[in-house]
């Protein structure tokens, strides 16, 4: 076999490897992280569109916002804020644990994160069902009697917290997938970019809540 066709075959080999295991061959952690950050920007602007609406209507209906916010439970909101902050902290501690080759501890932290995510959703569930029982939902009897500003407030409340909740679920699935990979030793102390990416996503969801919380729950 001539040298040239050897090169061709070598390339073929490399391509095969690329197709099967991908990142193990041409691993570019920096590129992976950059892609993740760009994705986070799209999330920021997705919520950004709604924050623009929120701001515009808060400007138009500032009094109605105050009235409507009375219906929200600051207590649950605060609890959920603390839960999310703790979960975020756990993810980043999990990364340190993995860096220090402590797989068990890392998985422990991530389990804690999953637990927090679940707790957050349970709280959210009670919050929403309580409001729906009261008739405060789109086209609901109680909402029909409220002023226009309040209707808009609750419209935004349901969409924004709902979409945020959806992101919590996606984040939990993301972290769950990463946990399986850690379990199978596919992610290790010197190859943990996927865990970082999952963490970045989770922190962003946390940051969005950091803004949602005062904007919806703390208007007096």
């Amino acid at each position: 076999m001539s040298q040239d066709s050897e090169i061709a075959i070598h390339h073929q080999h490399e391509h095969e490897a690329h197709a099967h295991v991908g990142e193990h061959v041409h691993r570019d952690d920096m590129g992976s992280k950059m892609g993740m950050w760009l994705f986070l920007f799209t999330e920021v602007l997705l919520f950004g569109g709604m924050f623009i609406l929120y701001a515009a209507y808060r400007f138009t209906y500032s009094d109605a916002y105050k009235v409507a916010a009375e219906h929200l439970d600051t207590y649950i909101g605060t609890i959920n804020t603390i839960i999310l902050l703790a979960s975020s902290c756990a993810v980043v501690l999990g990364i340190v644990a993995l860096q220090r080759k402590n797989k068990g501890l890392c998985l422990g932290f991530l389990w804690f994160t999953q637990l927090c995510g679940a707790a957050f959703m349970v709280n959210k569930y009670f919050e929403w069902t309580h409001k729906i029982e009261l008739g405060i939902y789109p086209k609901g009897p109680a909402l029909a009697d409220m002023s226009e500003g309040e209707v808009v407030f609750f419209g935004l409340y349901y969409v924004m917290t709902g979409l945020h909740g959806l992101h919590i679920i996606v984040g939990m699935i993301f972290i769950g997938t990463v946990m399986v990979m850690i379990q199978k030793n596919k992610l290790t102390h010197d190859n943990y970019q996927k865990l970082e990416n999952a963490g970045l996503y989770w922190h962003l969801v946390d940051i969005i809540w950091i803004f949602l919380f005062p904007l919806f729950y703390l208007i007096h």
């Binding site: 040239d4 080999h13 391509h15 197709a19 950059m34 602007l45 950004g48 623009i52 209707v151 935004l156």
Partner: protein, 555 residues
């Protein structure tokens, strides 16, 4: 070897097998549908996109036919409303926005920066599937529910909330397409940052890559805004959440704000890569480096940035405040500056070049002419007092067809002719290509120019019927549509013939200087035998000759 040894024919020794013939895990159609190769994905986009383009073109043709005479000519008013909606949705979301980045960005950009592929090949394939899904949903929405959407491609509330037609599904299609666009943009930005060959600095990139880069940023940062807006329209229609509906306290103008926050920058998604193509083509066929490389590259970023600041000019007569109108009008004029920088640099590049008018060059030159008309009439619309007179008339229709079709459309054809040899390894009939181009451009002006006059005289857009005094303009316009379509069909027929029977193309048929012409036509699977080390600028002809001589001396 997993799949046996590759047969290497004697004459191909030392060359890599081109990507069409390269064997892969999957056979037949699956080697395309499951491919992660950027070239194959680009070609799959091209195929589907031409299908959508011809469909939407047919809708446009039917609309023009309807407007031949006042009153009913060939269809009912509701059908007409549906047609202009579909024509807009398909052209804008399925052809114009993804056109150049998805097809040529995918196929050419990685080769131009000296990379083997994009950085996330599987994500790239996912983008394609999302694009197909979006297109499928859009078509599906025609035949299901309570009739095809009749809102126009802008889906303005409150009408889009009230109409009983199948708006939700069409809107959802646009949402899915947006997702596809975001992922493509994300992939391209990261690719350009991380995958450039050694020595390929940002300022050694061909200007096409700059165009793709600017566009990718708009895709990433603007598309999510329309995504959420469209979701809100769906939620409002289905479960009655009160956000935009004035009956529930919503402000329809905010919908328009959010819609144009995306859709105005989207205009630059369409035009920036196309402007990059024109820079490459002009540099090649003037046989000299592009004049003012850095200003053109910088004006790309400037347009991308200023593009975010001007959306309000779509709403001058919609009830926005006078203050904001004045500000948006001022900012709109700013766009003319970087655009002017580009146009003057192109013209300066032609000056004293040894110009060769090939088919791609002819398209590029026609672009400069047509696009200038489009751009300058844009200033007429950006001026507050004239805009009040011209809003929602045929003048606007003429303007954006000159900019979008005359800009992105013509340059899509130009790119197709320019990179055809590289993509398919064959040449087409140059003479017929030029004839087709001339017929197309004559038809184009005949079709859209009368609309400026009709619009100025007061012919409103989207109307099914009109007063008899406008008929002369409509007749000229309709005849123009026939001429233009014959030009387009001749062009495609010629390319198709070239694809099947054209002579085999050499690696560098145009004597170009950028990297994609250093690899065989069509390129091998991973583009380069070995990743090149870049030492010269993209349009540096002397450097190219020097390196060729060195290469020959070595052997």
């Amino acid at each position: 070897m997993a799949n046996g040894s590759i047969a290497v024919p004697a004459e191909q020794k030392g060359k890599l097998v081109d990507f069409y013939k390269q064997e892969s895990k999957h056979k037949g159609i699956w080697s395309w549908l499951l491919t992660v190769d950027h070239k194959r994905i680009g070609l799959m986009y091209l195929l589907v996109m031409i299908g959508f383009f011809l469909t939407a073109m047919t809708f446009g043709f039917l609309m023009r036919l309807e407007m031949l005479t006042p009153g009913q000519t060939i269809m009912k008013p509701q059908t007409y409303n549906t047609l202009f909606t579909l024509h807009g949705v398909i052209m804008v979301f399925l052809f114009i926005i993804p056109g150049v980045p998805a097809v040529f960005g995918n196929f050419i950009m990685p080769i131009q920066i000296g990379a083997k592929d994009v950085i996330f090949p599987r994500l790239n394939l996912l983008s394609w599937y999302l694009y197909i899904a979006g297109g499928a949903i859009a078509i599906f929405s025609l035949f299901t529910g309570t009739g095809a959407a009749d809102t126009g491609w802008t889906f303005y509330v409150p009408y889009s909330l009230r109409t009983t037609t199948n708006v939700s599904l069409t809107v959802f299609a646009a949402f899915v397409l947006g997702f596809s666009s975001i992922l493509t943009g994300l992939n391209f930005i990261t690719t350009i940052h991380r995958m450039r060959a050694p020595g390929m600095t940002f300022f050694k990139m061909p200007l096409f890559c700059w165009g793709i880069y600017g566009t990718a940023w708009i895709q990433v940062l603007a598309t999510p805004v329309i995504g959420i807006t469209l979701v809100l329209v769906i939620l409002e229609r289905t479960i009655g959440i009160g956000v935009f509906d004035p009956a529930l306290g919503g402000d329809p103008l905010l919908y328009q704000h959010l819609f144009w926050i995306y859709s105005h920058p989207a205009v630059y998604i369409m035009i920036l890569p196309a402007m990059g193509v024109v820079s490459d083509i002009i540099a090649t066929f003037s046989r000299k480096p592009i004049f003012g490389y850095t200003p053109i590259a910088m004006s790309t970023l400037a347009i991308a940035l200023v593009g975010y600041l001007v959306w309000g000019h779509h709403m001058f007569s919609a009830g926005t405040s006078d203050t904001s109108n004045v500000i948006f009008s001022l900012l709109t004029f700013l766009v003319a500056i970087p655009t002017g920088v580009k146009v003057f640099n192109w013209v300066a590049s032609l000056y004293r070049g040894s110009i060769e008018v090939t088919a791609p060059m002819l398209y590029a030159l026609c672009f400069i002419f047509v696009f200038s008309i489009g751009g300058l009439t844009g200033l007429v619309l950006g001026t507050l007092n004239t805009d009040i007179h011209l809003t929602d008339t045929y003048f606007v229709v003429a303007h954006f067809h000159y900019v979008m079709f005359g800009g992105m459309g013509i340059l899509f054809f130009a790119s197709l002719h320019y990179w055809f040899p590289k993509m398919f390894g064959r040449m087409y009939n140059e003479k017929i290509a030029k004839v087709a181009c001339i017929i197309f451009v004559i038809g184009f002006n005949c079709l859209y120019f009368p609309m400026f006059i009709a619009g100025y005289l007061g012919m409103p857009r989207r109307y099914y019927d009109y007063l008899p005094e406008f008929q002369i303009y409509h007749v000229i316009s309709t005849v123009g549509s026939w001429i233009m379509i014959s030009g387009i069909l001749l062009m495609f027929a010629n390319l198709l013939k070239g694809l099947r029977q054209g002579p085999i193309a050499p690696a560098n048929p145009w004597d170009s200087t950028t990297l994609e012409w250093t690899v065989p036509s069509p390129p091998p699977m991973e583009n380069f035998e070995e990743i090149p080390i870049v030492t010269r600028g993209p349009y540096d002809r002397d450097g190219l000759i020097e390196s060729k001589v060195k290469h020959q001396l070595k052997h």
